[in-house]
């Protein structure tokens, strides 16, 4: 029954043996009775094997999935895989989904937005973006899941169907592709864009401090080496300028939701000033309802409020700008968790995170539909 991994060679030489559980106590007793010293190198071989199998399954060099049904939503993907997913989704649902290129990044990568539309011309729209800060991996992964969810549920979910009957949804899954690639190739903790400017050897601008709302204020940094560096001027980053152009040209966006991680927060403007927005009371109610819907699935607790009172002063932030453009329903999410894993959220939490967040998004979308302005 004993399985020798290092066979007996001679007296004085060690022996390694895997012991099946029923033999464990008898063997220990036998060794002790005969004064043979031993130590335990591996407590539970099965656990190690199971773990390795899980690792291999997750990180296998995947063949490209042939359909979005074969795509693995429970693991983290790189940029190529996500861009391939988008093309598959469009090919499978040509009547609902199209892909728009809204600009190019600093390193000349295309910036893609998925448009979900049942028709019409320039319908009032919902905007959702994920991955503006590249290290927040659960957000891009959730964006991929949302895209598939919209396609799957567009007919069978009444709420979603009625939203899509009258409104379009725009979804930018990888809002900062240069940063995202960098998190895969070089530095998992990279947050900013990858823009380079003469005069500094530090790279990148915080894309959530680069918008023209309170730009340059004390909730951002003038130091290019800082994680909250605002950039040389508002909209200096092509990733930001592309969205600004899109929003202004579209002219009919009614809700704007920018998704980050981590901290489990649902936030509304402002971040750059303590002055409450005129619609603070309504936004607070919507946030309360959305947080309750989110929590209903797995009990995940979210805190909600304005950016400045709930986390910190932040100047030049996305939803401060969109709100000031007249997009009343402007919200920011900070997804799971609250610090136990932080940015390094285990892949097993991607789908539960996306599922619960989707319930909150539906509350916001439904409220937008029912309160036209």
């Amino acid at each position: 029954q004993l399985d020798f991994w290092l066979s007996p060679r001679g007296t004085g030489d060690p022996v390694d043996v895997r012991v099946p559980f029923p033999s464990l106590q008898p063997l220990k007793a036998h060794l002790e009775a005969n004064g043979v010293p031993y130590s335990i190198m591996i407590e539970d071989v099965q656990a190690l094997v199971d773990h390795e199998q899980m690792q291999m399954f997750r990180h296998r060099r995947r063949l490209q999935p042939l359909s979005t049904d074969a795509f693995d939503y429970s693991s983290y993907h790189n940029l190529d895989e996500i861009y391939a997913f988008m093309d598959l989704l469009v090919a499978e649902n040509p009547n609902l989904v199209s892909k728009l290129e809204i600009g190019r990044s600093t390193e000349d990568r295309p910036l893609y937005v998925l448009k979900f539309s049942k028709g019409g011309t320039n319908r009032p729209a919902i905007w959702i973006d994920t991955g503006i800060h590249s290290r927040e991996w659960v957000t891009q992964a959730s964006g991929v899941w949302f895209a598939k969810k919209i396609v799957q549920d567009q007919e069978k979910d009444e709420g979603l169907a009625s939203i899509l009957d009258q409104m379009d949804i725009f979804l930018e899954i990888v809002t900062n592709p240069d940063g995202f690639v960098f998190t895969h190739t070089t530095n998992r903790m990279w947050r900013k864009t990858r823009s380079k400017r003469s005069g500094s050897f530090c790279v990148g601008v915080d894309p959530n401090r680069n918008w023209d709302a309170g730009f340059g204020g004390s909730g951002s940094s003038s130091n290019p080496c800082s994680e909250t560096y605002r950039g040389p001027y508002a909209n200096s980053e092509p990733e930001v300028q592309a969205i600004v152009n899109f929003v202004k040209n579209h002219g009919n966006i009614k809700a704007f939701i920018s998704i980050h991680s981590y901290s489990q927060l649902l936030l509304y403007p402002y971040g750059y000033t303590t002055t409450p927005v005129p619609d603070a009371e309504e936004l607070h109610q919507v946030a309360e309802e959305a947080a309750a819907a989110l929590s209903s699935l797995y009990g995940t607790k979210y805190t909600y409020g304005s950016i400045i009172s709930t986390i910190y002063q932040a100047s030049g932030g996305t939803i401060d700008w969109t709100y000031n453009q007249g997009i009343k329903y402007s919200f920011t999410f900070e997804l799971r968790d609250t610090g136990r894993y932080g940015f390094l959220l285990p892949a097993s939490q991607i789908v539960p995170t996306a599922q619960e967040t989707w319930l909150a998004l539906k509350v916001i979308m439904r409220h937008t539909l029912e309160h036209p302005y």
Binding site: Y76, M189, S226, T228, S263, P346
Partner: protein
């Protein structure tokens, strides 16, 4: 001066609660137990003239190993006005008992003591959030030790979390203690900076955790 009730969603008591949780992680953490903040229930603040800001907190702790294992706590956190280098004062009470980890601690102790070669590991958790089961006690030790570093370096404008263990190396000792040399990454939530920090951690099942050395490291550009 009277204590002012604050909404638990507010950023300032949130930072104080994170600090209290880090302090508790240091005082009560073991290789089998990692106390972490689950939620802040109630917060009051006193501005004490000439002294500083004192937060009275009620919160729930969970365990990094068992999310469903929770315990209620109260704490008082005093941020000193004058000396910015003085660590905040923290006092806490845990309602009930934390999970006993003596057996797991001894198993871990014996396992490491009997290793032929010094333990070396990196990236815990890895980029995908994975922690190999045999590294969980190593992570828990870092969680507790980082609580000390966080406590010593916190003020009202900071909120630190342990983001990752970049590198850990066991240092063999002739005495009964285990010694680990850690390079960790701290995430500072207000500035959003990722700060490398070196810590030398001593541990023994009966004598607890000691951070004998710690220093902030230069950031990678």
């Amino acid at each position: 001066s009277p204590a002012l009730e604050l909404p638990p969603s507010h950023s300032l008591p949130g930072r104080a609660a994170a600090l209290a949780a880090a302090f508790i992680a240091w005082r009560r953490g073991t290789p089998g137990r990692g106390p972490a903040l689950r939620a802040l229930s109630r917060a009051r603040r006193q501005d004490i003239d000439g002294v500083g800001h004192k937060y009275h907190l009620e919160f729930v702790l969970e365990d990094i190993f068992e999310k469903d294992s929770t315990v209620n706590c109260t704490a008082e956190v005093l941020y000193h006005l004058g000396n910015k280098n003085a660590a905040p004062d923290v006092q806490f009470t845990i309602e009930g008992e934390l999970k006993n980890t003596d057996e797991a601690d001894n198993l871990f102790y014996n396992r490491i003591k009997s290793l032929k070669n010094e333990l070396v590991a990196e990236n815990i958790p890895d980029s995908y959030g994975n922690v190999p089961p045999e590294m969980e006690p190593i992570r828990a030790l870092a969680w507790a030790a980082s609580g000390y570093v966080i406590w010593k370096n916190s003020n009202e404008n900071t909120k630190y979390q342990l983001a990752q263990i970049k590198h850990v190396k066991q240092v063999k000792r002739s005495d009964e203690y285990l010694e680990f040399d850690y390079m960790i990454l701290l995430h500072e939530n207000v500035s959003q900076e990722i700060i490398p920090w070196q810590m030398t951690v001593l541990w023994h099942p009966q004598h607890g955790i000691e951070v004998t050395q710690n220093s902030r490291q230069p950031k990678h550009v």
